[in-house]
């Protein structure tokens, strides 16, 4: 159906393709096309354009028609093929998706089953432990039962033995005529230990006994109550004091650390608590109503909680802050604190050891042996040392003296020699001068009389 309108369209195209004017071009074109397709040319002659080979044309048309039909058929076949393939594809896709779904389902099922299996395993484990516990308990109960059974059987045997003894005795009594009666044989009755007479048993005495019994009980209750009261009062005092101290500890710290807002709240509260509790306490120190007591305990608990949190905070600070930190001036880290403590302890120990050692040595020194010989010996030793030393010194001293003596001798000799030499020199000088003078006086006696007198005078001066 489809190809026919198309072919009609294409035919219409052909109609427009060739007109009266372009016949020769059309023929040429068709010749080219046909030759390219492998058909015979429709017009051989090139210059006689208008003459067509009718046979060739008809053959060409026929083969073209065949071709066309063949082409149509193939197209049809192909189209059919295509439809088939697309339907196949559709079908495949459908099956694919279906199988995918199935796979998902199967996986989910699988997971579920795994879960179930795991849970069952867990239950098995717990049941096993339960079983073990139960078995242990059963064993324990069995042992208890066993011990109870032995106790029962022991008691039973004892009772049976006693029973048989009783039966024997009964038999004996029944058969035995001689019944020994019980009785007391006393020389004389003695008075009561408290010296008073005995009383008849009357209703009055019974009432008296009851009264005495209740009196004893009441006394005991009174004593106990008194003790408990005293304890109670003391404990209350302690609690009040504790509360006061806790409030005291908490409030100044709070003012330092926190801002203005919060401090009013708790302080007010504590203040109010104190007021509330102190008043009933002041009114009735011994008998406080339950209300006041509860209030006191509640307030103590509150304070304690605050104190606890505060201390915990401090602890955290201490463990986190390092030594040398700006904030850590007041709070040293625990570790360094401990280290320092350890060091100090070691130092103390060392000092102690040192002191002990010194003491020991001193003792040794002081405890000179009590034996006289050794003391004398020691003394002798010391004296000997001294002696030796002195001897050495003496020797050196002697040597020095000797050397001094020698030097002195040599000096004196030298001095004597020097004296003699001087004397000789003087004599020589004197003789020389005399000679000179004599020589001078002989030559210039007259001339140098004055001079001589002068030289004499000089000489005499010189002499």
């Amino acid at each position: 159906m489809h190809p026919v309108p198309l072919s009609r369209n294409s035919y219409s195209n052909f109609c427009t393709f060739c007109t009266e004017e372009n016949v020769s071009e059309c023929i040429l074109y068709i010749n080219q096309e046909l030759s390219s397709l492998g058909f015979a040319v429709i017009c051989n002659e090139l210059h006689r354009i208008r003459e067509l080979d009718v046979v060739a044309v008809l053959n060409n048309i026929y083969s073209l028609l065949q071709l066309h039909r063949h082409a149509l058929r193939t197209v049809e076949d192909l189209e059919m093929e295509q439809v088939k393939l697309s339907s196949d594809l559709d079908y495949q896709q459908l099956t694919n998706s279906r199988l995918k779904d199935q796979l998902e389902l199967a996986r989910k099922e699988n997971n579920k089953l795994y879960e179930k299996a795991r849970q069952l395993e867990m239950t098995i484990k717990t049941l096993q432990t339960c079983l073990k516990n139960e078995k242990e308990e059963a064993q324990k109960l069995q042992s208890i039962i066993a011990s109870r059974a032995t106790q029962y059987s022991h008691d039973m045997k004892r009772k049976e033995r006693e029973f048989s003894k009783l039966k024997e005795r009964l038999n004996h009594l029944l058969t035995d005529r001689k019944d020994k009666k019980q009785g007391i044989d006393v020389l004389n009755y003695i008075g009561r230990s408290d010296g008073r007479r005995g009383h008849w048993k009357t209703v009055k005495t019974e009432a008296k006994h009851e009264g005495e019994m209740y009196k004893t009980l009441l006394n005991d209750f009174d004593n106990r109550q008194r003790e408990l009261m005293v304890e109670n009062v003391e404990l209350k005092k302690v609690l009040q004091q504790m509360k006061k101290e806790m409030v005291g500890i908490l409030s100044p710290k709070k003012r330092d650390q926190r801002g203005g807002k919060q401090e009013d709240g708790p302080d007010q509260q504590t203040g109010s608590d104190e007021e509330e509790v102190c008043d009933p306490g002041k009114e009735t120190p011994g008998m406080s109503c339950e209300h006041a007591r509860e209030k006191l305990t509640n307030s103590i608990r509150q304070q304690w909680r605050k104190l606890k949190s505060h201390v915990e905070k401090l602890d955290n600070q201490a463990s986190m802050v390092q030594v040398g930190d700006k904030d850590g001036e007041e709070v040293i880290s625990k570790q360094t604190h401990e280290e320092e403590m350890e060091m100090l302890k070691m130092e103390i120990q060392q000092c102690k050891d040192f002191i002990q050692m010194q003491q020991q040595l001193m003792q040794q020194q002081l405890n000179t042996p009590c034996d006289e010989e050794t003391a004398a010996l020691l003394n002798d030793c010391y004296v000997l040392e001294e002696k030796e030393r002195l001897k050495e010194e003496w020797r050196t001293f002697q040597e020095q003296r000797r050397t001094f003596e020698m030097e002195r001798k040599s000096f004196t000799e030298a001095a004597i020699r020097l004296g003699r030499e001087r004397k000789a020199f003087e004599e020589d000088r004197a003789t020389w001068l005399k000679h000179q003078f004599l020589n001078m006086t002989f030559a210039d006696h007259m001339r140098d009389v004055k001079k001589d007198s002068k030289t004499n005078g000089a000489l005499s001066d010189c002499k």
Partner: protein, 448 residues
């Protein structure tokens, strides 16, 4: 410490008079009364048969001697040695005999516990009390001597009767909620009566003097229960010792458990001091022989012992009880408070060589004494916190808060201290052997 010479006694029958002046001893059928300080024989009486039980009257004027086999009780007077009194129970038999607190009545329990006969020494009256119960402690007198509590059993039920000892008037009679009552004990202030059940059920009941039930205490079910109980001298605490090797302290205000004292096999507490007795045999030829040693004519086998302090953890020697036997040797069988209320001494039966001492102020273990042999007896000095114990050898051991000492009894070799008790003044310790006795006079200067 001075030790007297050794005297004979039989059946461990040796008692000091309540006024502290006389010491009465039974030797077979004879009753010997001595002066406590000079040990001179003041009186000598002869009974009709071997004496099975002997007791002083409360005014120290009379002594009763019971001869169970013959069913006889003889009473002797100290003031009038010629005075005699004989009570014959006849065919009904005699199982136990004791004085009443006023010293003028004697309570005889017949065989099979059929009844208790109250004989009066002042007049001809005789009273009978039916159906007394045969149990661990079925009868107790209050400390002021005014009341007697007696356990009875009728129609498979337990009852308690409270009698006024003045004229044996029945004051109260009430049923107790026990399965099988094992014992009754008055508190030292005479206002509370503690009643405990047999070991098959852990139950402690507290009754007031007028018969009201004050409280019930039960620590656990099914396992063996109470083995022993002890009141503190101030009546503040009631110590309950049980088969599970624990002592539970009940307080007198709420009658609830204050604390449990455990007796573990390994002591790890660092605050407790463990004293271990260490024996050392002296080698002949050492120059370490003391003068004391020499003068006593020592033999080669004289062992000295001293206490060493062992640091924790300490392993306590345990003797495993036989599981198939009834009344197994496990659990707290004996407990004693010191007279000042501060200490409690306990003994666990499967740790027979150890005595545990607890501090009642801190409610914790204070000391453990480990002996070389099982401890047979321990007793507090009635005037001060001093504990004396013995373990069937020739030594006596003393513990006080200041320390622990082991003293050898310097008498002949065969004397082994099996039991001991204090004189009421606390200055004399009487040591009993199997058939001998010896007195130990403590120096008054050594009082700690």
């Amino acid at each position: 410490m001075n030790f007297s010479e050794v005297f004979k006694q039989s059946n461990q029958l040796c008692k000091v008079s309540p006024n502290g002046k006389y010491l009465a001893t039974c030797v077979q059928y004879r009753l010997v009364v001595r002066d406590v300080n000079t040990l001179q024989i003041l009186h000598l009486y002869s009974c009709l048969d071997q004496v099975g039980y002997m007791e002083w009257s409360s005014d120290s004027l009379f002594i009763l001697c019971a001869m169970y086999k013959r069913g006889l009780v003889q009473v002797w007077s100290l003031e009038q040695p010629d005075w005699h009194c004989k009570i014959d129970e006849g065919s009904i038999g005699l199982v136990s005999s004791r004085w009443s607190p006023d010293g003028r009545h004697i309570l005889n329990t017949t065989e099979f516990h059929l009844r208790i006969t109250v004989w009066s020494l002042c007049n001809k009256s005789v009273s009978y009390i039916k159906y007394p119960k045969a149990c661990q402690k079925g009868m107790d007198f209050s400390s002021d001597g005014r009341y007697m509590a007696l356990a009875e059993r009728r129609d498979c039920k337990d009852f308690i009767s409270v009698f006024v000892c003045d004229d044996w008037h029945l004051l109260r009679h009430f049923e107790t909620e026990t399965q099988d009552l094992a014992g009754v004990e008055w508190s030292p202030n005479c206002c509370v009566l503690a009643v405990w059940d047999s070991c098959l059920e852990y139950k402690v009941l507290l009754y007031s003097l007028d018969g009201r039930l004050l409280s019930t205490y039960s620590a656990y079910e099914w396992s063996l229960g109470v083995k022993s109980i002890a009141w503190s001298p101030s009546s503040q605490f009631l110590a309950v010792g049980s088969y599970d090797e624990k002592v539970r302290i009940l307080n007198h205000i709420t009658w609830k458990n204050l604390i449990e004292f455990e007796h573990p096999s390994v002591i790890t507490s660092t605050k407790a001091v463990v004293y271990k007795e260490v024996e050392r045999r002296p080698v002949v030829g050492t120059e370490d022989l003391s003068v004391h040693h020499m003068t006593m004519g020592s033999s080669l086998f004289n062992t000295q012992s001293k206490y060493e302090i062992v640091p924790p953890p300490v392993q306590v020697p345990i003797v495993k009880p036989d599981p198939d036997r009834a009344n197994p040797k496990i659990g707290i069988s004996s407990m004693a408070f010191s007279p000042d209320n501060r200490y409690l001494a306990t003994r666990n039966d499967n740790m027979p060589q150890s005595v545990w001492i607890w501090d009642m102020q801190r409610l914790s273990l204070l000391a453990v004494l480990e002996q070389t042999a099982p401890v047979r007896c321990f007793m507090w000095d009635p005037c001060r916190p001093r504990l004396a114990l013995c373990s069937a050898n020739a030594k006596v051991y003393l513990w006080s808060p200041a320390g622990c000492v082991s003293v050898k009894v310097p008498v002949e070799e065969s004397f082994q201290v099996v039991s001991l008790f204090w004189h009421c003044s606390g200055g004399i310790l009487i040591l009993l052997g199997k058939d001998q006795l010896c007195l130990c006079y403590m120096d008054t200067e050594q009082d700690k």
